[in-house]
């Protein structure tokens, strides 16, 4: 036993590549799995086609005349299916086969099945009319699928395209890790440049570099195919040269300790702050507007993060505090406010807003906080709607203007120094940035405070937390209030920025989007929350704010959903996980690894040493 164990476990435990077995013959496929995966792909294809994404997004060109976003949505599925089907599950003691014709053939077959979904759809489109339930069952779609030719053409071409793209996906497995990274970087660079087009153009104009963007992008949008090739080549070279450098730097920073660590962190934060302060000077309206929107959601998400991420209270009605903040700021500053209009300066009003929202937080929190789990979530959902309906109601329309809302809200004046009008996105962004900085600092301090620890204890085990002497009711209420106050900042800025508030700005959807941002970014993690809003709000757009991919706006929720599902499967800890969450979710694997390694050590040196439970490696 001891004689055979070390080599086996050593091979599994160490990350050294185990020797590869010869590649499998092309036709020795796991056909059942292949067809199943292809069928899933086919269903996905049909779903995407009928969601109208291809037709709608056809206008957004990625690479001038070759690829539009619309076709990309259709091509990505067979590619992913073709890649996935060649995946080999690593099993201890089982040989890994080298990738070869088997992977390409499998990918092609799987991709063809997936593409077959569209072939079938093309036939159905030509012969049946299902416009009644399926609004997007249109001749336009049929035309797009057939590239303007006959249905027969569509049937064949999609089988071929599926096979080709699937083969590409499978073929990706043939590449060594280095080449693969270069290819992925190239794809990301071109895709990124296309997605960020408005932003890049805007920034280039600010920095008088139009010549560059004129060359890069075609006149009606999209990257010129020549520039795309250049960009791909450039980024590929960079990827090869910079191979592993970033990871090395990261590992290096992670190893730093104590004062050095603090200094590096401080420098990083300073650098980020400097970029964020300088960038808007060169950016045009569009970029600043976008950054301001992202910032507003960062504020909201940080607030919700305290409630959900730290204290573990699933609040589905968080928009209520955003609404109360917006409305109270509007009432206090606007001359047009129906009942009372003290026309306070914005900063003074903000103090009152914070108090009011804090009180509302207490008022809503008090009954809610005594519930647990699902019940709590549903009740908060209800309160979120109640607040909106109150603002909408006839009863209070004398105060808040009912569905007419409050308009002509003045900008945010700061001590008479500057007046941040909604028409000046740059100043709005600076204002948002200042409050984000404040909110980040507060969250950061809270997380490390005694109160923060009490929140986490309540999140982990409320009963035991109570037995430790933590007043769970008060602590949870406080989380609610802190979350409410952070949300009210966002609300007060929002009303000054937009210049008007209507009950319709505070739909349940806003709560959901904020929650998605928090989950997507990584619950309980400040950096994650910021990254989450940058990606979701910045790129896809918020509930009413267009993002970089403005064409996506009507499919936003669909994509949110898809992203969430992918997230739960692939990265349950969020985009940028907090160390805590990631460890907890991968605990078992780690414990197992550690056990194996400990075992190996024990077998090698019989002097006992660290015992079977060696500290898990990170």
């Amino acid at each position: 036993m001891t004689a055979t164990l070390p080599p086996e476990t050593g091979a599994a435990g160490a990350s050294a590549e185990p020797p590869l077995a010869a590649s499998r013959p092309a036709l020795a496929q796991d056909w059942r799995r292949l067809v199943r995966m292809g069928a899933v792909g086919a269903v996905a294809q049909v779903f995407i086609a009928l969601s109208n994404m291809p037709v709608r997004l056809d206008e957004r060109v990625i690479v001038k005349p070759v690829l539009s976003l619309g076709y990309l949505t259709l091509l990505i599925v067979p590619f992913a299916a073709g890649h996935r089907v060649g995946h080999q599950i690593k099993r201890e003691g089982m040989p890994q086969h080298a990738a070869g014709a088997h992977e390409v053939a499998g990918g092609a077959a799987c991709g063809a099945v997936a593409g077959g979904g569209l072939s079938l759809l093309a036939v159905l489109l030509a012969n049946f009319d299902l416009r009644e339930p399926l609004v997007n069952w249109s001749p336009m779609l049929a035309e797009l699928l057939a590239f303007g030719n006959a249905t027969r053409f569509a049937v064949v071409i999609w089988l071929l395209i599926g096979a080709a793209v699937g083969a590409l996906g499978g073929g990706l497995r043939l590449l060594g890790p280095r080449t693969r990274r270069a290819v992925v970087t190239m794809a990301l660079a071109v895709g990124g440049a296309a997605v960020l087009e408005p932003l890049v153009v805007d920034l280039a104009e600010g920095m008088r570099l139009e010549a560059l963007t004129d060359r890069l992008y075609a006149r009606r949008g999209g990257i010129n195919w020549t520039s795309a090739l250049g960009l791909a080549a450039g980024s590929g070279i960079l990827a090869v040269l910079g191979r592993g450098r970033i990871q090395q730097a990261r590992a290096h920073i992670a190893e730093l300790e104590g004062a050095q660590r603090t200094r590096t962190n401080g420098l990083l934060i300073l650098a980020t702050a400097a970029v964020l302060i300088v960038l808007p000077l060169f950016a045009g309206k569009l970029t600043n507007e976008l950054l301001a929107n992202v910032g507003l959601f960062v504020l909201l998400a940080l607030g919700l993060n305290v409630v959900v991420g730290l204290a573990g209270i699933l609040d589905l009605g968080y928009v209520a505090f955003f609404a109360v903040g917006s409305y109270s700021a509007a009432v206090l500053t606007a001359a047009t406010s129906p009942r009372i209009n003290p026309e306070l300066p914005w900063l003074v009003a903000l103090i009152v807003v914070v108090i009011i929202t804090g009180l509302v937080g207490l008022f809503i929190g008090a009954p809610v906080i005594r519930m647990r789990g699902d019940y709590l979530a549903i009740v908060t959902l209800g309160f979120g709607e109640i607040i909106r309906l109150l603002f909408l109601s006839d009863w209070l329309s004398g105060w808040f203007g009912g569905s007419q809302g409050i308009t002509k809200i003045p900008g945010a004046g700061i001590f008479g120094l500057t007046d941040v009008a909604g028409t000046d996105p740059r100043r709005v962004f600076y204002l948002v940035l200042a409050f984000c900085a404040l909110a980040i600092y507060v969250s950061w301090r809270l997380e490390r405070s005694r109160l923060g620890r009490a929140w986490m204890a309540v999140r982990e085990d409320e009963t035991v937390a109570e037995a430790m002497g933590i007043n769970t009711v008060n602590v949870k209420l406080l989380a609610f209030v802190v979350g409410a106050v952070l949300g009210s900042f966002s609300g007060a800025i929002f009303s000054a920025k937009v210049g008007s508030v209507f009950p319709n700005s505070f739909l349940i959807l806003v709560s959901i989007v904020i929650l998605v941002v928090v989950i997507f970014g990584g619950m309980g993690n400040i950096v994650g929350v910021i990254a989450g809003s940058a990606v979701l709000i910045g790129v896809l757009g918020g509930p009413k704010q267009p993002g970089l991919l403005a064409e996506f706006s009507e499919f936003k929720l669909l994509i949110y959903g898809a992203l969430l599902i992918w997230m739960m499967l692939a990265r349950p800890e969020g985009l940028i996980p907090s160390v805590r969450r990631s460890r907890e979710l991968h605990q078992q694997e780690m414990a197992q690894d550690a056990w194996l390694k400990g075992q190996v050590e024990d077998d090698n040196h019989d002097d006992g040493g660290s015992g079977p439970q060696a500290t898990p490696a990170t």
Binding site: R453, M456, T463, V464, A467, G469, Q613, P616
Partner: protein, 249 residues
């Protein structure tokens, strides 16, 4: 044998005077009298649903008695919240350890000292915990949930000790542990007790508990049916019967 009067100092540290408690309509405790004196190791025995955990909850203030009095150090604390009692030295080690699994061992220990603000005292108690359980010190930055059962028990005990308890309430210390660990755990309790701590434990494992306890009570459907020294209880013919009766159902 309820304690009668006397000076508070000489009286029991923690006491229940004919306490009745309900969960909704269910009558969980019926006229329970208990008294725990300083420096004692006492145990409350009983089968499932006999009211053992309810007794603990009532002592700690997580459940309010419908009648009767809970007395801590001569003061009736019926209306005092859990935090008040914890701050005055009543600390519980919950059943099944129930650590904050996703928090680090260090954070778990810190939470034990949640109500304390004497930094020096906390540091000293931390050292004491490390002395008692050197293993815990090695695991400080690890998530509590990744520890083995025995280590978790140590952390749970350490967490309780961090509250600087005068009386330690232990809810089923033998539950969910391998037999060897149970033995080890009881030795630990004895060790802590010998270091001067008052311990009140609630157990199903009567033999084990009585082998280290001074006195004990047997609880049956919320009523104290036996109240005697550990030796007498061990010898008591009804004790086995009461357990067998429970096992029959």
């Amino acid at each position: 044998m309820s304690a009668d009067g006397g000076q508070p100092a000489a009286g029991p540290l923690l006491e229940m005077r004919s306490v009745n408690a309900h969960y909704g309509a269910v009558h969980a405790l019926r006229d329970v009298d208990l008294s725990i004196y300083e420096g004692e190791l006492v145990c409350l025995l009983g089968g499932n649903a006999s009211g053992k955990s309810t007794t603990l909850k009532t002592l700690l203030g997580m459940l309010k008695p419908t009648s009767g009095e809970v007395v801590l150090d001569g003061e009736v604390v019926n209306d005092r919240p859990t935090s008040y009692r914890v701050a005055r030295g009543v600390t519980m080690v919950p059943e099944n350890r129930r650590l904050f699994k996703r928090l680090s061992v260090r954070e778990n220990l810190d939470l034990g000292a949640y109500l304390r603000s004497d930094t020096d005292g906390i540091a000293a108690d931390l050292e004491r915990v490390f002395e008692l359980f050197p293993r815990v010190k090695e695991r400080l930055s690890q998530k509590a949930g990744t520890l083995s059962g025995g280590e978790q028990q140590m952390v749970a005990m350490g967490r309780a000790l961090m509250a600087k308890p005068r009386v330690l309430l232990m809810d089923e210390p033998s539950m969910g542990l391998a037999p060897a660990l149970v033995q080890q755990n009881f030795e630990l309790i004895q060790q802590i007790h010998e270091a001067g701590l008052t311990v009140f434990m609630v157990e199903q494992n009567a033999n084990m508990a009585l082998s280290i306890a001074d006195r004990g009570w047997v609880l049956q459907t919320g009523r104290v049916v036996l109240d005697d020294t550990a030796e007498n209880l061990l010898a008591h013919p009804d004790l086995r019967a009461s357990y067998l009766g429970q096992a029959d159902t």
